[in-house]
Subunit: 181 residues, 4 copies
């Protein structure tokens, strides 16, 4: 459960990419002599991120790897900011981002799965780990999802956040015609 | 279980694509500078949809995303109509389809997994959710499959429908030589 | 368990492809305007089929779909004969194959997962179903694997066959240096 | 558990590729008339191998198949040596490698899943099998991972090794800022 007090303060949801928006796999091959990398994203996560668009929470992706696949998916989900930084460098990147936006650590939720997310998770107001996170990361989290990355973990986070803020029914109303009882 | 009375009325089976005919994944990468999207379909689902060809039930796919992969698979399974509409827009698209074919909502079964399917499921004669559907969708369904999307959920729906109509043995006879006892 | 008497008679192992050598998925996309289909094969199955090369059992793949991916994998595993026939047409194809090779149905084992394999399984000396086979197929099988297709089912069949024939230790000796106790 | 005495002696970690760094799948298709092979690697394994870079353990990959995908992934993880040899030929290749580096068998740990790894595992100081290894290989192992290949098995091996050597906290310190309690 995410506490209402904490959730209502959140203005920015930061998502690690590999292991959070994906199942931690990269699929690699050589096509006509050029390295091609595929990533597997989850459609239910995509709809979930769409539900945030009507809220006051913005979304940023923070990856420790550069990947064209990540940029393609971010673009189709209209994620306006994607930070692709060295694995040991997320803290500085997020700090600069918060400063640029005039936000404090307490305004941010972050979802991670691996050591590269540790420093950010130690500081944000709402640290979240996916079900498949390593132990060091789970220990830092206020909330651990039941679903693994790439299989609905992000959807679960969005739902938990919006419900804790009392905004869930309004968010899904466009899909259900009227609020679902 | 699907009731015989309801099943015998069905003339059209509508299928959402992502999460129903697939496992909700999209696999994305950049090949020679161009975005390429792969989808994972299930072969047992394909044979199942073939079994419907001898029946009086037609099949239509209704997707909230445009995807070349969807069109390729629909074409090889000889699905004559594929609606690729905005996620919030399935209701209108299906309504127009039924009008065009002179059918009522009671003649339609629909299989969905996510919020974009909610309005259609609230109206069709036989609303079905896959095992991996979100809770809001399962609550609307008269029948929830035991198998997840992309792993035989559609095959299970076809079998349930044809058995409820007493048409299963005849449908599989071409494969078994004589009806299997 | 496979009986020694039945196993010793086998001269030909027939394998359905989708759902037996793969997990029943096809992964489809459009690359530069051309349909591309990927299949997922299992490496442990490949080594298993290699173990048969020193035995008197030949291997044939019998698929109800045409697929370049199937031909590529068959070629690298040195499978000399691949039948790609219509789904309702395996019986005739296998019958002709047996005649061509001067073999009877009792000399053949066949591994299948779906209705298209039913007629062949009703006739072969050793009918085998994978763990993920549909019920109609499992009912026809003398042996059902514990591992699903694409995840070692074929390796399991090879091991069961060679053990029932008392040929396992000799088959794996090249890998272990000396027979493993 | 890995014993501290054995772990402290290790100077070289050898990894089979298929089934250890991957889930044993190969994904094959034809793109513009050319065979393309994709492999699925795990990102948490990648970070794990990075943790070894500050230690005195070097890493070598030893595959029984040639694959461009393997070379691509090895290169981005800065694995300096990759042996792609015939499946029955790993023993000779590893023997030559140890001689070249002036190391003995007791200095090597090796992780395998299938028969092609048997001879090497019978000789190395620390033989390790992944959760999805065949029985013959598990029997040879001093340590069997709980996670399967391609889903964190290599990360688990790295963690077990570094913890047994008392080097874990120092290895992860760059990610955590200070040692995690």
């Amino acid at each position: 459960m995410v506490s209402s007090n904490v959730a209502r303060r959140i203005r920015l949801l930061g998502l690690d990419v590999d292991g959070v928006l994906t199942d931690n796999s990269i699929v690699i091959g050589l096509v006509e002599g050029v390295r091609v990398e595929f990533k597997r994203f989850d459609i239910q996560d995509g709809l979930g991120l769409g539900l945030l668009r009507g809220s006051s929470i913005d979304v940023v992706w923070v990856s420790g790897r550069e990947s064209a696949a990540t940029m393609l998916r971010a673009s189709e989900l209209r994620i306006r900011e994607v930070l692709q930084v060295p694995a040991i460098g997320k803290l500085e990147a997020v700090e600069a981002l918060l400063a640029r936006r005039g936000l404090g650590w307490e305004h941010m939720a972050f979802v991670g799965d691996d050591l590269a997310d540790a420093e950010v998770l130690q500081r944000v107001g709402l640290p979240i780990a996916v079900a498949n996170a390593v132990e060091e990361i789970k220990r830092l989290a206020a909330f651990v999802t039941t679903r693994p990355g790439g299989h609905g973990a992000v959807r679960e986070v969005v739902e938990a956040l919006l419900k804790a803020r009392g905004e869930w029914e309004r968010a899904i109303a466009p899909y259900t015609g009227s609020p679902v009882a």
